[in-house]
Amino acid sequence: MTETDIRFTIDGQACLAKPGQTIYEAAKANGVYIPVLCHFDGLKPVGSCRICTVRVAGRYMAACTQPVTEGMAVENAVPDLEDMRKALIEMLFVEGNHFCPSCEKSGNCELQALAYRYQVMVPRFPYLWPVRTVDAGTPLIMLDRNRCIQCLRCVRGVRAKDGRKVFAMVERGAHLTVEVDRKLAARLSEEEAREAMDLCPVGAILRKETGFAVPIGKRKYDHAPIGSAVEKGTGR
């Protein structure tokens, strides 16, 4: 512990944080897993999926955006919060069109992995079966909006050389959807296209012309459940 360390607790467990750290970052550094979906280390947090919702002194907040303060007592893995997280995951499933068995991202998909972790069997919500479109009009990537969860990772992380955003959100509310700028996307390199796909937590952004290079059953979350690395103290 150093002078500037901030003392706080998560579910009663004593933890230390560096000044400026968010609850999520500090939890991770202390080996406590707080589930996140829209968040991606290195990108500005946006608090859009709300799956990291925690409670402090009766107030609900997103762990990915909220800085830790001295003496904070964070409630994290308590039953009612865990149920809300599960509900949010279920909402994402019914809000889009997710057919895991035919998805290139199956096994590497963070939404699917969270659903396994939270033991989602049948969503409590009615399916909405929205009509969503696929945009394959760019050379290297395919945008399948059926699987998009509006996490804004691509909006935040994929930029053209001059800094312009390659992806942007259009419409609002239930019609909110992601749009790829065809002109800028046409100039993405192979490497950048692959990075865009890796950034996407689900199977909404796919690299064209390659697929199933790693067979299902041998993918990231086929080996270990999401969050287990944090809990074992070995990172993400």
Partner: protein
Amino acid sequence: MAQLKDIVPKHPKDPAALLDVVRDVQAAFGHVSEAAIGRIAEHLGLSEAEVRGAVTFYHFFSLAPRGASTVYLNDSITSRMKGRTAVARAFEEEAGCRFGEVSADGAIGLFPTSCIGMNDQEPSAIVDGVVFTSLTPDRARAIVRGLRSGTPAREQVGPLGDGANQSDLVRAMVVNNIRERGPVLFGAHERGAAVRKAVAMAPDQVIEEIKKAGLLGRGGAGFPTGLKWEFCRREKSPRRFVVCNGDEGEPGTFKDRVILTELAPLLFEGMTVAGYAIGAERGILYLRSEYAYLRDHLESVLAGFRQDGLLGRHIAGKDFDFDIVIKSGAGAYICGEESALLESAEGKRGEPRDRPPFPVQKGYLDEPTTVNNVETLAAAARIIVEGAAWFKAMGTPQSAGTKLLSVSGDCERPGVYEVAYGLTVADLLEKAGGAGAKAVQVGGPSGTCVPPAGFGRRICFSDLATGGSIIVFGPDRDIFEIVENFMDFFVEESCGWCVPCRAGNVLLKKTFEKIVKGKGTEADLRDLETWGQMIKCTSRCGLGQTSPNPILTTLKGFPELYEARIRKGEAFVPAIDLEAAIRVGCAAANRQPECKESLYD
């Protein structure tokens, strides 16, 4: 004919100009075409996707043509109660298209829109930027015929309303309906007195006076105004901003409209006092685009202030410079949320920001900013003149002063009432002539639906807090129709950023509808409650955090209505009609089921 090459380059090559360019393009062409998107993106150094993102966020911008003339008919519950359905049908018949469409000749586009701030004179519509109030089917037809025969909307206006609505700069049909004038807002005020008195004090003294007065924000959240100003002043920064929230989007409120029409000088004095107190040189009035008809009037008041040394350099002869600009919205309720407002004022999609940092720390252009409601600022100006003690003596101990209420719906005297805090709902019904009310909606859709048993409750921060919207529902009104209208409003106006508000409200409404259709079970009723609480707890901003209130507060106030609709004792009732669904399936497959009698009895 206007040309893109004349419109776009007029604007600075700065992404912050995005909404201004789009507004000009939309006004000139009735939509923002693909060509325009490309040109705007190029000019501002944005991607085309981003430009499209901003265009599609705001209700009054569109990618597809909206007609040579465009009718936006208010869709608030009060509009419906006052005859919207017949007016809408008249518009459709005369225009030859449905709402959401443009007529085949391209002359008329018909679109619904969320409450436009005219709830005391419904049904109302905005036609090519011109407000028409108290519409009848005949008037609707006449407007469309006029537009088709070349008479612009502004030449069809009449009769004019009262007060400044009659001035050459406004010329609107809007009536003020000022029913009760209280001492704070409508008390006698000498123009410029607040500014002159404030600049003679030290900024800290001004803040102290506002704090002592106990002024709480009038926009809904009720944050102490003096404290907000103090926080802002304390931030270390060479630049600070005063922002006035003139978005007034909560359905049923229109009191800021009346202040902007009749008391604009008082408001601008309040902004100037705030600027002096926090150390800002610039104020911004964010004006909802529904009130664009007031813009020339407001600009002329500002010009008068500049002429009289109440704005500009060395105000009232002191070493204090301050000026005010007006920025327009473009149709989005969420832009009333202060951080979304700041995004919009910066020319972006109006999506709320995460807090911290709060606007007093990082607001407009990331500089310390106070955002206050129109009424809050007007009241602050009066406090400076009359003193904290005078203000504190009115209202209740926790809710000092008066509140301007917008009363509409089933009452004889709709309009604005400036009343001391602590008034009961029953007192207000008495004043407004709302005898026999079945329910009173306090605080708009995001507030509380109060049943008669609650009419003894008080309008104040510690009981029924409200930004000012009061809607009276008469004995024959259908509570479920009201709830449905309110939920539609939230679904329509959610920015969509976060999951619980974006998806949760759609799901909540589906289950609500299932119950209303008589297909609900006790489990569905419990779901309404738990899902509603979940949306409140996990949503990112005030919109989502209050969006289930229409359902939750009526579950509480009118449980018997819900109980009567559900199928007691049945464990599961499907939301869909299985037999009908099977028939569709059979038709698609061109096969008939083998058993003829009903499958599910």
